[in-house]
């Protein structure tokens, strides 16, 4: 039965509606479409329409395991969805506070497709249930609070007078989590200008507007306007799932941007048997598992004093490059969705899935496809004008990876590696340091990476058991698709006693304010998206 189906007996016209709903399923993907693609799932090919608007969605598709913060956000989204609605869990573990999954399948295209088929029958049968149960998660229960109209910081739970100005406090509805990480903003926190009351009837006769406005912040044009705090994410369709931006909007200009990541509160214990460290680390980031796997293997080998031979290094390079190409393509698809280029979003997603499924033999063909795609993007009208000067960052901002290379900084951990020298690797560097330059760097790297992967000839990651009984400290560095990641481990007798991971997105997250503030909303979002943050590796 569909959790949260509509009340009523399925008869007559309702049966027709139910049939229509079963055919026209719209999925809101959690944590995000990019994660689904990175795990090799083609949601639309499985017969689910995609939407970024909870109120237009009928299916909540959960891909992979979610950290607690994201599960809470997903519950808020689910509460906003219109009934009848259903949860489709693909390889997801614990879902609370969400209701249990109506259909749960594994993380493979075939399973997803037959799950969708099961979902259709469930909708056709149970869209209208006599005893339909509602769903209201705890954090959405509204409670009344009392605030001073002049001093927004004065908020208390019981009525009274404002300690600052003595005005009587105004009752208003406060929804816990409303201002918190959720999307849609129809609860207290995300109100427009009109969420703020004056004072009660005749409290103090005429009320001075000078009084009210003199404390308001001055916006860049010098007018004291009321600022709106709007949450973007962690499930915002235009941003990577798990990234939470709290934007303070002055009109449609971003006055302040405070980013945070709802990734794993703690990426599980990294300590434990050294030979299984790769597995554990690879589970951190669904967007670039191979990079972290390789990172762990190298760190352990370094600690154990056993270097990897030529063949192994070559194969690992191949795997890394394939993942880099796929990851960049995934970013491109999401970025195209953000800037409203629908054809590009679709094409990039197709290519990404093809790369993820490809064998070494298929790489040259994909490389040709990537080249033609890049050429077509360069020719796209209005695209350069849309991206020029957005999210501009000079070199030497502590950035790494494509963000740094787009600013003309020739930094790349791959330069120092023998395997890459053997493959004739040369880092891609572009000038400009804005969103357009980052796009160009990534396009060039997609092509180059596919070439390297083809040259490497093998795409699997051999993991020789080197660390049995080994002791010592070691470190390794890998150029992930997003930048340089470093891992320091200390082994004692084949056990990891301490592991310290430093990912690129943690550094890049600090740049969000610089690219977003004092920009128009759309430009700010484009700037943030062009950083290609991965919330999964940042949260600590």
């Amino acid at each position: 039965m569909i959790s949260g189906a509509r009340q009523g007996s399925p008869a007559g016209l309702r049966r027709l509606f139910a049939a229509a709903m079963a055919r026209d399923l719209r999925a809101f993907v959690v944590p995000g479409a990019e994660v689904a693609r990175a795990r090799g799932l083609d949601v639309e090919a499985a017969g689910l329409g995609m939407t970024g608007v909870p109120r237009h969605a009928s299916v909540l598709l959960v891909v992979g395991e979610l950290p607690a913060a994201l599960r809470r956000a997903a519950a808020v989204v689910y509460a906003q969805m219109m009934r009848p609605r259903a949860v489709l869990a693909a390889g997801a573990g614990d879902l609370s506070p969400l209701p249990g999954a109506d259909v749960s399948v594994g993380l493979s295209q075939e399973e997803l497709e037959e799950g969708v088929a099961r979902l259709r029958t469930a909708f056709a049968r149970g869209a209208f249930a006599p005893g339909a149960a509602g769903f209201e998660p705890e954090m959405l229960r509204a409670r009344t609070e009392y605030a001073c109209p002049m001093h927004p910081e004065v908020v208390q739970d019981e009525p009274g007078a404002c300690p600052k100005c003595g005005m009587e406090l105004v009752s208003r509805e406060a929804a816990d989590g409303g201002s918190g990480p959720h999307h849609g903003g129809d609860h207290g926190g995300a109100n427009g200008d009109h969420g703020h009351g004056g004072h009660g009837h005749g409290g103090m006769g005429f009320m001075s507007m000078v009084e009210m406005t003199k404390d308001l912040p001055r916006s860049s044009d010098g007018l004291p306007m009321e600022w709106v705090e709007a949450p973007f994410g962690p499930l915002f369709p235009g941003l990577p799932g798990g990234l939470f931006l709290k934007l303070t909007l002055d009109g449609d200009t971003v006055a302040e941007a405070s980013p945070s990541a709802c990734g794993w509160a703690s990426p599980g214990p990294l300590t434990g048997p050294a030979d299984a460290l790769a597995e554990r680390l690879a589970g951190i980031d669904p967007l670039s598992p191979a990079s972290y796997r390789v990172l762990a293997l190298r760190a352990v080998e370094d600690a154990a004093g056993a270097g990897a031979d030529e063949r192994t290094a070559r194969a690992r390079a191949g795997a890394l490059e394939r993942e880099r190409a796929a990851s960049h393509l995934g970013w491109l698809s999401g970025f195209a969705y953000l800037i409203g280029h629908r054809w590009l979003a679709r094409r990039a997603a197709e290519l990404q899935l093809a790369v993820l499924r490809a064998e070494p033999a298929g790489m040259p063909g994909l490389r040709a496809a990537a080249r033609s795609l890049a050429r077509r993007i360069e020719r796209t009208p209005l695209l350069a004008r849309r991206l020029e000067g957005i999210g501009a960052l000079p070199g030497g901002t502590g950035a790494s990876g494509p963000v740094a290379r787009a600013a003309g900084v020739r930094t790349d951990a791959r330069c120092g590696e023998g395997a890459y020298r053997a493959l004739g690797f040369e880092p891609v560097v572009r000038e400009g340091g804005d969103a357009l330059a980052r796009l160009r760097v990534r396009l060039a790297e997609i092509e180059e990476s596919l070439g390297l992967a083809a040259a490497a000839g093998s795409l699997d990651i051999p993991a020789p058991r080197t660390a049995t009984g080994a002791s010592g400290a070691g470190a390794a560095t890998v150029e992930t698709p997003r930048g340089t990641a470093t891992l320091r481990v200390a082994l004692s007798d084949g056990e990891v006693v301490s592991a310290e991971l430093e990912g690129p997105s943690a550094r890049h997250l600090a740049l969000v304010g610089r690219v977003a503030e004092q920009r128009e909303l759309a430009d700010a979002l484009v700037g943030v998206a062009s950083l290609d943050l991965s919330p999964w590796e940042t949260a600590r």
Partner: protein, 298 residues
């Protein structure tokens, strides 16, 4: 009688446009798609946001639909197939469509949500860009037809359609029409990636169905306006007049929807800058050009 015929044609056109729009959004052509989606929307519940401005929230979709239908009512499908052939029809089209902006403003303010509100005001800014050029283009049309009556506007193009007679005005009007229907790349008020649906984000179920219908009727009305003003309406060999009108209108609608699929959404600042620095001067130039040609022709 003709009113019913026009209404039926309008609904049929809206359905076909919905199919095209589905293609331009997903890249798949599903002839039954709109019908299924409509039935699904009607079946689903439609909860209002927590603290809406109820009047505006409920009225917005209806106002959108009504203004689009009113605009279509003065556009002739054939010499006789027109609901009201007003003496000021060409101006009336624009007058009716001005309320599309009012409807979006209501839809943006009504639900008391940040995304929707930003989207609503965004469209007001967009209007500041296109509203003046669109009227200037209509003025140039009236100059040639020496009348604001739509049937006479069409009749005046017997020799040469306005699209060739005043190509600049055609371009200006076409782009302004895309702005008015907030079709991509001008879909600032509904930007899916930036504002997660914008003005549509808080609507669901039957209300959303009405809003979508209004949007489609709006696209049809604007395509019909382009047809009447610039492509010689029903004029054409062999086929009956209404057929020509239908073909041209659908072709224009398809062109509008096709354009948005392959270009990114514009920045609001760019939209305004281009309309003011380029659109308005071009529209004035167009008026001047038509005036000169008319004087020379006599």
């Amino acid at each position: 009688m003709s009113a019913l015929a026009v209404l039926a044609a309008l609904l049929a056109g809206a359905y076909l446009v919905a199919v095209l729009e589905g293609w331009s959004a997903t890249g798949r052509l599903r002839p039954a798609g709109p019908a299924v989606s409509a039935a699904a929307l009607l079946g689903r519940e439609s909860v209002v946001p927590r603290r809406p401005d109820r009047v505006l929230f409920e009225a917005a979709p209806l106002l959108l639909l009504v203004s689009a239908v009113l605009a279509a009512a003065v556009l002739p499908l054939s010499p006789r197939l027109v609901v009201a052939d007003l003496a000021t029809g060409a101006l009336f089209v624009n007058a009716a469509l001005a309320y599309v902006m009012v409807a979006l403003l209501m839809a943006g303010w009504g639900p008391d949500a940040a995304y929707a509100m930003v989207a609503g005001w965004r469209f007001l800014g967009q209007l500041l860009g296109y509203s003046m050029p669109i009227v200037m283009a209509i003025a140039a049309i009236a100059m040639r037809a020496e009348s604001l009556r739509n049937t006479e506007v069409v009749a005046s193009q017997a020799a040469l359609p306005n699209a060739l007679y005043q190509p600049v005005g055609f371009a200006v009007f076409f782009l302004a029409a895309m702005c008015l229907a907030f079709l991509p790349p001008f879909d600032l008020p509904t930007a899916p990636g930036e504002l997660a649906g914008g003005v549509e984000a808080e609507y669901a179920g039957a209300r959303l169905a009405v809003m979508r219908l209004g949007r489609m009727v709006l696209v049809v009305a604007l395509s019909a306006a382009v047809t009447v003003f610039y492509l010689g309406g029903w004029l054409g060999p062999a086929l009956p007049p209404w057929a020509w009108s239908a073909i041209k209108t659908l072709a224009v609608a398809a062109a509008m929807l096709l354009a948005g699929r392959y270009v990114p959404r514009l920045r609001e600042a760019q939209v305004l800058a281009w309309w003011w620095k380029l659109g308005i001067p071009l529209a004035l130039l167009n008026i001047f050009w038509v005036g000169v040609v008319l004087l020379v022709a006599e």
